[in-house]
């Protein structure tokens, strides 16, 4: 199911803000087609680590390589071209533009002609089930559709590595099930996925590999089963798992 050479490697990433160390030497390896789940209580530094890997927060030290290429200092906007895409926890659609136009921004990355970009964007809309809403302005979409749009925009970049930031939380159960299955299918196409999610059940179902953070450090790492029985993880969550 997964080939062995990692497509993304983060080595001892440290992020400091002023005097505060938000991420203290966390490492991660991602193989094509693999799903890595990133969990941890609030304030653990997961989002900061996430942002550091995707170029939205500068690293104080540590390296990140994508397909062997050092991207530690690459500006965020160059990463999609190199094969990395991300979603935002609070969706960021371009409100004043239609659903189709939003995805076209992404498909323009690999298709300079408007006609081609439109065609490619329509394909993605089909995949995420938004084709019927293509001409609607984003301000009019409900949450589930905004989420799918957010994922669609990332997908249209044809990434090799996809960072998903809490795409499941907040959706109603049928929508959650849909999204979970969708992500699973994505990984089968060979895309490596890093997901932050605080719904344990979801992480356990989807992830091949789980990293647990607390207080900026990696406190545990392993398969879902190993993690759920890991004492440090249980302690970090102060006596229980989040079950939404």
């Amino acid at each position: 199911m997964t080939s062995t050479a990692p497509i993304l490697e983060a080595e001892s990433v440290v992020v400091k803000f002023g005097g505060v160390t938000a991420v203290n030497g966390v490492s991660l390896k991602l193989r094509p087609g693999e799903i890595v789940g990133l969990i941890g209580p609030n304030g653990a530094g997961k989002t900061t680590f996430f942002n550091a890997l995707t170029g939205f927060v500068p690293k104080s030290s540590g390296t990140v390589t994508l397909s062997g290429r050092n991207i530690s200092n690459t500006p965020a906007f160059e990463l999609p071209r190199l094969g990395m895409a991300r979603t935002f926890q609070v969706e960021r659609p371009f409100e004043d533009m239609t659903v189709l136009e939003n995805v076209m921004i992404s498909s323009f990355l690999h298709h300079s002609q408007t006609r081609e970009a439109k065609r490619a964007a329509l394909e993605v809309l089909e995949r995420v089930g938004l084709a019927d809403r293509k001409n609607q302005k984003c301000s009019e979409l409900n949450l589930a559709r905004r989420r799918r749009l957010e994922v669609g925009k990332a997908l249209a970049l044809s990434p090799k590595v996809l960072f998903l930031d809490e795409v499941i939380a907040g959706l109603n159960p049928p929508a959650q099930a849909e999204m979970i299955e969708f992500i699973r299918q994505l990984s089968k196409t060979g895309i490596g996925i890093v997901m932050v999610e605080h719904i344990m059940k979801v992480i356990m179902t989807l992830s091949d590999h789980v990293i647990c953070m607390a207080f900026g450090e990696k406190i545990a790492e392993g398969t879902p089963i190993e993690i759920t029985s890991n004492q440090a993880v249980i302690d970090a969550y102060l006596g229980g798992t989040d079950d939404d």
Partner: protein, 328 residues
């Protein structure tokens, strides 16, 4: 701004290029209908073209420049100086001016785009003023305060007649309008729109905001310089204060904003709206023609914040999509 495919049911069958053709056609009739008011027609169209050029930066990137007068001056002076010293045809002189303006804008933007909003505007005033002072003081190059004039050695004769001038200016407006249409449906246009709305979100999708804005600025500058060259041909004689005062920058910017920034025709409409009142002030009262600009910008800000065309577009959109969130 509206989406690429014309949305409203009423206009669904009307292709944008047809509208453009209609507008240009009507404008082309002006010399026939109003032949004795050529100066008025030329200056109105010219200002409209300059406002359209400004809007490529102001409307599309949200960076408000109050320094475009410098680019007008670069166009005018470059063409004139090259015609005079190298006997370069005004056609090539204009192109040279456009290239120079684009380069200046690229450097200018590279330095100052990092400044947020008003700080950028302040810096644009300063840069333009410095350029004006240089033009004023370096008399060995520009003839300083005495200004320059175009003689018959510089331009072919027919270019001094009003009707040909009008059509050249119309061509200028057509080019900028055409570019505005192109922009709306092009990758650059999409990118600029995304950057304007959410710069960071756009970056996550592979857009380089700085580069997109610089390209827009360079193009805006080139077109502004083109307008400047035409302005010089029309006036035949000019001095630094003709083009380079902050008042000119303000005038251009306000025309675009009053007419509706970010819309394709807005800046042109702005010029039309202001043409008669400001002409009245200019010819009857000899001065204070910017009074109307002041009054109208206050009125527009208070009651028509999207400008004339922007408000019209918004109104049409609401009429055709009454049931959407925020419209009722």
């Amino acid at each position: 701004m509206t989406s690429p495919v014309p949305k409203t049911k009423f206009f669904a069958r009307v292709h944008p290029l047809m509208v453009l053709g209609l507008v240009l056609g009507l404008l082309a009739l002006y010399p026939i209908v109003f032949g004795s008011f050529m100066n008025f027609g030329i200056s109105t169209l010219l200002l409209g073209g300059l406002a359209l050029s400004w809007d490529i930066l102001g409307g599309w990137t949200g960076q408000n420049s109050l320094g475009h007068a410098a680019l007008v001056g670069i166009g005018a002076y470059t063409m004139t100086l090259l015609a005079e010293s190298l006997h370069l045809s005004p056609f090539f002189g204009t192109i040279a001016g456009m290239i120079l303006a684009a380069l200046v804008a690229w450097a200018w933007g590279s330095l100052t785009f990092r400044l947020r909003g008003s700080y950028f505007t302040l810096s644009s005033i300063a840069v333009a003023e410095i350029i004006r002072l240089i033009v004023l003081n370096e008399s060995w190059l520009t003839n300083g305060a005495e200004g320059k004039s175009l003689s018959t050695f510089d331009l072919p004769n027919f270019l001094y007649e009003r009707k040909p001038e009008y059509f050249m200016v119309l061509a200028f407006v057509a080019i900028v309008l055409g570019f505005g249409h192109y922009l709306k449906y092009s990758k650059l246009g999409f990118y600029l729109k995304a950057v304007r709305e959410d710069e960071e979100g756009a970056m996550a999708l592979g857009v380089n905001p700085a580069r997109a804005k610089l390209i827009a600025f360079a193009i805006s500058a080139a077109f502004t310089a083109l307008g400047g060259s035409l302005y010089a041909m029309y006036l035949q004689a000019f001095e630094p204060d003709t083009f380079l005062l902050t008042a000119t920058s303000i005038q251009i910017a306000l025309l675009a904003i009053i007419g509706g920034r970010g819309t394709i025709y807005g800046p042109l409409v702005g010029s039309f709206v202001l043409a008669i009142p400001s002409e009245f002030f200019r010819s009857q009262l000899q001065e204070a023609n910017l009074l109307v600009y002041g009054i109208l910008i206050v009125v527009v800000i208070l009651y028509l914040p999207k400008g004339v065309m922007g408000t019209l577009e918004h109104w049409f959109y609401k009429k055709n999509h009454p049931l959407e969130k925020g419209n009722l």
